[in-house]
């Protein structure tokens, strides 16, 4: 039910209730009033009636008295002159209109009569009448020959009573009519053998009656019944009630209309406001909300309008945050992508170029000159990049020191020129607080070619992403090749396309358990005993056979998927080591972790969990980390390595000699082991300088309290030299290739070791290809 209906209905129901109550009360009061009125009228009528009878009586009495007093009449009585008497009686009767005049003896024997059928000599009930003689006597009626008479009697005195004169009016229809006219009531006169016992008012349906018993001379009962119609009595009240009902009807109608009007007045603005709010929700902020009212609704509308403004402001700032780089005011990665997509769509096949620009050494600038200087440099870089003339272009800041730009080229050959102009823009030193700071950049370039190399362009979004990724790859290439600028070329990197689809396959590989653990033994050089095994990965690819880590690990590192792979490897390797351990064989294992893994803050917790769950003594686990792993963020890497060391896990520095790590870093590392890169070991036999490096590395490791491992040993000569240098542990094809579990166990048995417990995982040793050179991983 709508608010409007509810408001209106509530008021209507209330009013109806009040009106019904009022009308009922009035109705009841009217009914009672009518009843009372009728009672009063009947009572009054009864009084009037008896008054009329009294008047009649005195009239009759006077007339009769006049006759009785007449001397002549008395003489006639004395002389028994009947004829004279009859005529005298007739005369007096006519004078007052008495229907009956009778002269009787004192005993009631009729002497003469007029207007009555009483025979002379018959008995007249004079005795009863005599009892009612006197001024205060009540009216007396008698029934004579079926007619009702009101009768009085007076004595004839001469001077003692000698006779009686009875005189009476007939109470006929005409008399009743006269009485009715005088009382205003219905009057019925009737003789009843057995009338009502009382003179109570009876209410017979519509008629209210009041019988009056008239004193009768004989046994008959004569009643005068006064009656009044209730309907007549109610008529004036009914008129009043009717008027009230009409007023009630009109007021109900008016009130209902007013209630609906008010309710509508309230709900219509509400409805309008609801519509406006819907518009605002839809993202429109220019909705007219003012309802031009001074009441609560006006205030509400005003509040909504303020809210609209506030929401609009916040929305704008959120948009800004989402799509804009706050420092430089350039686009961020998101808006750059969408902007590029739009431009690609507009370009309609015209060559579009994308450049990814990386500021060199920016981290050092930040570290040494402070973030405010870094920020100033970034701002100026942004300004310079935007001033490079280009067609339909845009510049964005993608990451801390990474910028991007795109432009439409009139010819793909102009790509180099555009790249050079970008480089030139950044070649001049930047002045911060009047201090010149040299900056330089590395740029990766990519351009769309017509037709695009992907053939059918699936979508412009995809194309934009591809273009950015290609530029990114070109940037990587430039960095690797230590060049300022590199252009992406599909032919230079044939596996690039493969790599794009590799991620999905790699994910599937982990899910479907296509990765395999291979183990390469480590040999203690002094005793020729097995010191442990290094765990290496192989990918049992469903179509391409067994793949070496070099085919997928670099890609996994680029995409960040390496963490997932490391997790998988750690859990399997630790489980395997634990099963050996529980079988009574302490065979230490070494697992490789990358720079990306070290930056994972949960690595230590994960390793701790695995070691605890598998009940593996931590000393049986060695984590091998390449030097590059702590080059990017040495402090963070160091704290993670310390945490891992605290677990009791052994740490090993892998591929030592290939990276750029400083010796101070090396000294601070909580490592137990140093692994000299295979490139040094393999150059050992021929290159004296390499030998010197290896020898001093071994010495340095020892002096830092670490064991030194040499990997990639393929000849006895190399082994001899390393042994001579004091190298502790050897690893290489000379001793054993990486091999699957079953093969490892056979190999160990061959060396007089007790077989190890197999993992439940299905290792397929037969498919291992031995052709792959061990990767550095």
């Amino acid at each position: 039910m709508s608010l409007r209906t509810r408001i209106a209905l509530t008021f209507l129901i209330l009013l109806t209730a009040v009106l019904v109550a009022a009308l009922t009360a009035v109705s009841i009061a009217n009914r009672a009033n009518a009843q009372r009125d009728v009672q009063r009228q009947l009572e009054f009528g009864a009084q009037t009636f008896s008054g009329l009878l009294k008047t009649n009586r005195s009239l009759l009495t006077q007339a009769a008295q006049a006759v009785a007093d007449d001397y002549g009449f008395r003489a006639a009585v004395a002389e028994h002159d009947t004829e004279t008497l009859v005529s005298a009686l007739q005369n007096s009767g006519t004078r007052v209109g008495a229907a009956m005049v009778v002269l009787t003896s004192l005993d009631g024997v009729v002497i003469a009569a007029s207007g009555s059928d009483r025979a002379v000599g018959s008995q007249f009930p004079i005795a009863a009448l005599k009892r009612n003689a006197g001024p205060d006597a009540t009216a007396t009626v008698m029934v004579d020959n079926g007619k009702i008479y009101q009768v009085v009697a007076v004595p004839v005195k001469s001077p003692l009573p000698v006779a009686w004169i009875a005189m009476g009016f007939e109470l006929d229809a005409a008399a009743a009519k006269g009485l009715a006219a005088a009382t205003g009531l219905g009057v019925t006169l009737a003789v009843r053998a057995h009338g009502p016992a009382s003179s109570a008012v009876t209410n017979d349906g519509d008629m209210v009656t009041r019988p009056i018993k008239l004193p009768s001379l004989d046994n008959t009962e004569v009643f005068a019944t006064l009656s009044r119609s209730m309907a007549d009595a109610r008529a004036p009240f009914d008129g009043l009630t009717k008027t009230l009902f009409e007023i009630a009807g009109v007021s109900l109608f008016g009130f209902g209309w007013a209630a609906f009007w008010i309710a509508r007045n309230i709900t219509r603005p509400l409805h309008d406001l609801t519509k406006s709010v819907d518009l605002i929700r839809g993202g429109r902020y220019d909705v007219e909300l003012s309802v031009h009212r001074r009441d609560e609704l006006g205030v509400l509308a005003e509040g909504l309008e303020h809210m609209q403004t506030a929401v609009m402001c916040r929305d704008n700032s959120i948009r800004q945050l989402a799509y804009e780089d706050t420092l430089t005011g350039l686009m961020n990665r998101t808006s750059f992508g969408s902007s590029l997509s739009e431009s690609l769509a507009r370009a309609a096949g015209a060559p579009m170029a994308v450049a990814i620009i990386n500021l060199n050494r920016f981290r050092r600038i930040n570290e040494h000159l402070g973030y405010s200087v870094g920020d100033a440099i970034l701002k100026q870089t942004a300004t310079r990049l935007t001033t490079v003339p280009s067609i339909e272009s845009a510049v964005a800041r993608l990451a801390a020191d990474q910028f991007a730009a795109f432009t439409r080229l009139s010819d793909p050959k102009d790509l180099q020129a555009w790249g050079t102009s970008l480089l030139l823009a950044l070649s001049e030193p930047v002045f911060v607080e009047a201090q010149p700071i040299d900056i330089s950049a590395t740029i990766g370039l990519a351009v769309t070619s017509a037709p695009l190399e992907s053939g059918a362009q699936a979508s412009v979004d995809g194309a934009a992403d591809d273009l950015v990724r290609c530029a990114d790859l070109a940037l990587e290439q430039a960095r690797r090749e230590k060049r300022a600028m590199s252009v992406y070329e599909a032919s230079l990197n044939p596996s690039a396309r493969d790599q794009l689809s590799l991620l999905g396959e790699l994910r599937r590989a982990v899910e479907k358990d296509e990765l395999r653990l291979f183990f390469q033994p480590k040999i203690e050089m002094s005793t020729n005993r097995v010191a442990g095994v290094e765990v290496l990965l192989r990918w049992q690819h469903p179509t391409r056979g067994m793949l070496s880590p070099a085919a997928f690990i670099p890609f996994a590192e680029q995409t960040g998927f390496i963490r997932r792979i490391t997790r998988w490897t750690l859990s399997r390797a630790i489980a395997q080591a634990a099963s050996w351990h529980h079988a009574g064989k302490a065979l230490p294992i070494a697992v490789n972790i990358g720079a990306d893994d070290v930056s994972d803050s949960r690595l230590d917790a994960r390793v701790a969990g695995l070691v605890t769950r598998n009940q593996l003594p931590p000393s049986l686990l060695t984590l091998e980390l390449t030097e590059s792993g702590f080059i990017e963020d040495p402090d963070r890497a160091l704290s993670m390595l310390n945490a891992l060391g605290a677990l009791g896990v052994n740490l090993s520095i892998d591929d030592f000699g290939t990276g750029y790590s400083s010796l101070s870093h090396l000294a601070r590392m909580p490592a137990h082991e140093l692994k000299i890169d295979r490139s040094f070991v393999q150059g050992l036999e021929t290159d004296a300088e390499y030998a010197a490096v290896v020898r001093s590395a071994i010495d340095m490791g020892h002096s830092l309290g670490m064991k030194v491992v040499a990997e990639g040993i393929e000849t006895e000569l190399a082994a001899d030299r390393l042994r001579a240098f004091g190298c502790d542990i050897a690893q290489g094809y000379l001793y054993a290739k990486p091999m699957p579990l079953e093969q490892l166990e056979r190999w160990l048995e061959g060396r007089g070791r007790v077989p190890v417990v197999a993992l439940p995982a299905n290792f397929n040793a037969d498919e291992v290809t031995d052709t792959v050179t061990l990767a550095t991983y």
Binding site: Y71, R74, L106, S158, V162
Partner: protein
């Protein structure tokens, strides 16, 4: 007027002479009492001689009209008595009677009418005034010379010659009729105690015993 003053004592003297002459007169005393023993005044007591009628007389009587009443109200007299109806009031009266023994009317008058009314026939004559209904007087006309009205003491005393008599008693306000009774008067004085219930408010409905 002077005539009336001296005539009545003369008559009484003459009567006494007659009785004295008889020398055999015997005193008869009728005492009438009403309810609760109270004496009943103005009760007419008549002794009708059963042994022969004494010679007629021509008596006179006066019934005055004073203050709209007949005075006396109750009268008893012998047939042949001439009654004067003087009017002592300043208003006029019309004395009449419809009574059978002697109906008459004296036209409206004041003072004394020119003629007396002589009642020749025995019986009860009720007098009225045609103008004033309340004026009523009773005149009992009897043949016997022996009659009396009781005094305030309720006693009527007279001397009767010995013989047999019929005793009649009547009061206009008596409640019940007293039947006439025979009384023999001889030798000694006779005392007749009578009970007559009288109610002054009771209308006159007991007929005069003829």
């Amino acid at each position: 007027m002077k005539y009336r003053e001296w005539r009545r004592p003369l008559q009484m003297a003459l009567l006494g002479l007659v009785c004295a002459n008889a020398a055999t007169a015997i005193s008869v005393k009728v005492s009438v009492t009403g309810k609760s023993g109270a004496p009943s005044a103005d009760t007419i007591v008549v002794f009708d001689p059963l042994d022969g009628t004494p010679a007629p007389t021509h008596d006179t009587a006066v019934i005055d009209q004073i203050n709209k009443t007949f005075v006396p109200r109750v009268n008893v007299m012998r047939t042949g008595t001439a009654v004067a109806f003087p009017n002592s009031d300043r208003i006029r009266h019309q004395v009449y009677s419809f009574s059978t023994p002697h109906p008459f009317t004296l036209k409206l008058y004041a003072g004394s009418p020119r003629t007396d009314v002589v009642f020749e026939k025995p019986g009860m004559i009720v007098l009225g005034c045609n103008i004033h209904d309340s004026m009523v007087a009773f005149v009992a006309v009897v043949d016997s010379p022996y009659f009396k009205k009781t005094l305030e003491s309720g006693i009527a005393e007279m001397d009767l010659p010995p013989g047999r008599y019929r005793l009649r008693v009547w009061n206009p306000n008596m409640i019940m009729a007293i039947p006439p009774q025979e009384i023999t008067v001889a030798g000694a004085p006779v005392a007749v105690p009578l009970r007559v219930d009288v109610d002054p408010t009771h209308g006159t409905d007991v007929a005069w015993p003829e």
